[in-house]
Symmetry: C2
């Protein structure tokens, strides 16, 4: 089977290893493009922005091309003051010296504990250690996906190929995140590489549109991180005629990019801290796009409904409650709600009237690993999908003592 | 010791008993005023409003005087359609017939499961059963406080006396609520009786102002209920010269009312489902009243910080994160954060710089039952306080299977 990791697109190398920021697990990942790549990014809307987010923002906004990304886990480099920014620049500079490029050709991301300065005595030599392992094989790519994980239970990757003007273009993605997940403009950390040739402007446009309907529609705990970042590098090495205008090629590329982001986003919700179930909430018939999105996200974010889902309890009243305080507008007297899974489908509310449903059957349906909640409104023609997970004992356990 | 229950003010009677809506616990409470009382109320902002909320809203907005309140627990009478409204009117009518007044002299409140019609065959005779027990003694008052409870671990009551124009005026309050608590204009259920004479307009003004800084500043789970209601009845039987204008008497009355609401609100946060700790968050130096309130509430609502509090983990990064996504404006580079309890006080962030604090000492401070988080900003002169609780295994347990 061919390599489908982050280093699969032409001209991309990757590696990940344990350098000592965390006790045992891999904690540093490098991505390098052989040629300068167009770069686009979406970042957290939290006004407390980690140092690497502030740094990357200025590079992405400049529109300049980029050679690589340094990502450490175990320390978020957030709320770390002036020293935090100096440390980002030192990390970028170290990678740049090894790669033979300029400091501002390198993006930097961090994830982990907030409020502790990066251990630079460990990080800088660690960059050298991982740089020496950069490769194009599946093992290097797999290590890269592991190096960005924190409390994630599994590595999240996605891969697509799409034909652009007769040339096969590859896209590969990887992401991490299982708590502090309620992204606003981006998710925790997601990286996409592609060997497509595409202008920076269109790359940013495709990424922003996709992020809106993928990472921005998942929630684990309603906490929007200080470090949320989604980055894409496009180095053009597939040889396709550059995508410089909207049209078929742009649409095909955008659709492939969105399939990647959607898979990664859903995997993040599935891997929500302590989660045992993935929830998909579909809202149909909303008065506006915004109403549909707000209502869907509110249901995926309700602690009460999340706990009911954990208990496989068909407590649809909590869904109506969460819809009602969401801020989205709808007619509460004509709502229909249905639960669906691989075990079947059951109506619980039809056109505003409670259905006398079979509780045992509802429990069987809700006991599956993937649950769909379909909400039908009678207010208009807009729809939205959002994803989340259940609230469990393990979420509390994991977060009751994260730092030790 | 004199009776300090809801029936302590002159002319108020109360009772509570088990009538069969719930399996064993008390589930019906009645409050009766011997004379018509001025009535004021604050209600949920959830657009899905339970039938009793819709009914009470129209009576309170009419400004008419009221004789009593029927409150059942075990069933919220929410999302119950036309039948729900008919059931409210039947309950009010039954109480009115017994009390010798009109149906619209009676307010109705419900709390419990959403989406199930009230068992009227149980409720209507139950109103007769409890009406026969109405009394002025402490036992009747205590039963009334128990009849409104759902998952509450303890009954929440408060009592104040204040001199108005040389006359002693009594105020008594009781409240219930331990989940679906993130009130917006009111809380789950709170009832205040007073024998003060005061105009309806000033009563509403005093209640709304107090609700804003008491019930509206607590959060257990960010879920705003469909049934939130705070009601006050003032029957004038203390004999004070009626408070018909703002001034000293109004201010004294308002202050006493606010002490009652604040105590009840804090008790609700303390009794949050599964909670082991009460958290008070004080924000100082904010640019506006709204910024101070939004920031304080966001910290009390963060699942991640709530879980850290459960684990006595001084994870202040989660506080900064919650402040940053709150929507409140502040300069993140000059924030100070301090933890405080009966075991001492410790700085963790000073003017934007992390403090190297003693982790063991922080753990000791955070292991107490009441924790204060003091947040100092440098953006202006506004402050706010908000209350919440920790997120525990028991919250998940209680809510994983609430309906069975």
């Amino acid at each position: 089977m061919p390599n489908h990791s982050i280093n699969a697109p032409a001209g991309f190398l990757a590696a990940g290893d344990h350098i000592g920021i965390k006790k045992q697990k891999k904690d540093l990942t490098l991505i390098l493009s052989e040629k300068p790549a167009a770069a686009a990014g979406c970042f957290t809307q939290n006004i407390v922005k980690a140092a690497p987010v502030q740094y990357d923002l200025s590079i992405i906004h400049s529109g300049k091309k980029v050679r690589g990304i340094v990502v450490n886990s175990g320390n978020a480099n957030a709320c770390t003051g002036e020293q935090g920014l100096k440390d980002v620049k030192a990390a970028a500079g170290t990678f740049a010296a090894l790669a033979g490029c300029e400091s501002d050709d390198v993006l930097v991301c961090s994830t982990g504990v907030i409020g502790v300065n990066l251990p630079m005595d460990t990080l800088l030599p660690g960059i050298g250690q991982v740089f020496a392992q950069l490769g194009k094989d599946e093992v290097s790519g797999g290590n890269a996906a592991q190096g960005i994980m924190t409390t994630d239970m599994f590595a999240k990757t996605a891969y697509e190929e799409v034909s652009v003007g007769g040339i096969t273009v590859k896209l590969a993605g990887m992401a991490k995140g299982s708590a502090m997940i309620h992204p606003n403009m981006a998710t925790l950390l997601a990286f996409i590489t592609t060997d497509a040739a595409i202008s920076v402007e269109l790359l940013q446009k495709a990424l922003a549109a996709s992020v809106r309907d993928s990472y921005n529609m998942i929630s684990v705990d309603r906490d929007t991180s200080t470090n949320d970042t989604a980055l894409i590098l496009a180095n053009g090495m597939s040889g396709n005629t550059a995508i410089n205008a909207e049209g078929d090629d742009f649409n095909k590329f955008s659709a492939a990019l969105h399939r990647i982001n959607k898979k990664l986003a859903i995997d993040m919700a599935r891997d929500g801290e302590g989660a045992t179930k993935l929830m998909e909430v579909n809202v149909y018939g909303a008065a506006s796009d915004s109403d549909a999105r707000i209502i869907a996200r509110s249901v995926t974010s309700s602690n009460l409904f999340k706990a009911a889902l954990f208990g496989s309890d068909a407590n649809w009243g909590r869904i109506l409650c969460a819809m009602g305080y969401s801020g989205g507008k709808f007619d509460p007297n004509h709502v229909s709600v249905n639960f669906r899974s691989s075990a079947g489908s059951i109506d619980v509310l039809k056109n505003g009237s409670p259905v006398l449903f079979d509780e045992a059957r509802a429990k069987t349906i809700l006991s599956e690993k993937e649950i769909c909640v379909d909400i039908r409104l009678t207010d208009g023609g807009f729809s939205a999908a959002a994803w989340g997970c259940d609230l469990t004992y393990d979420y509390v356990k994991i977060n009751g003592d994260y730092r030790s």
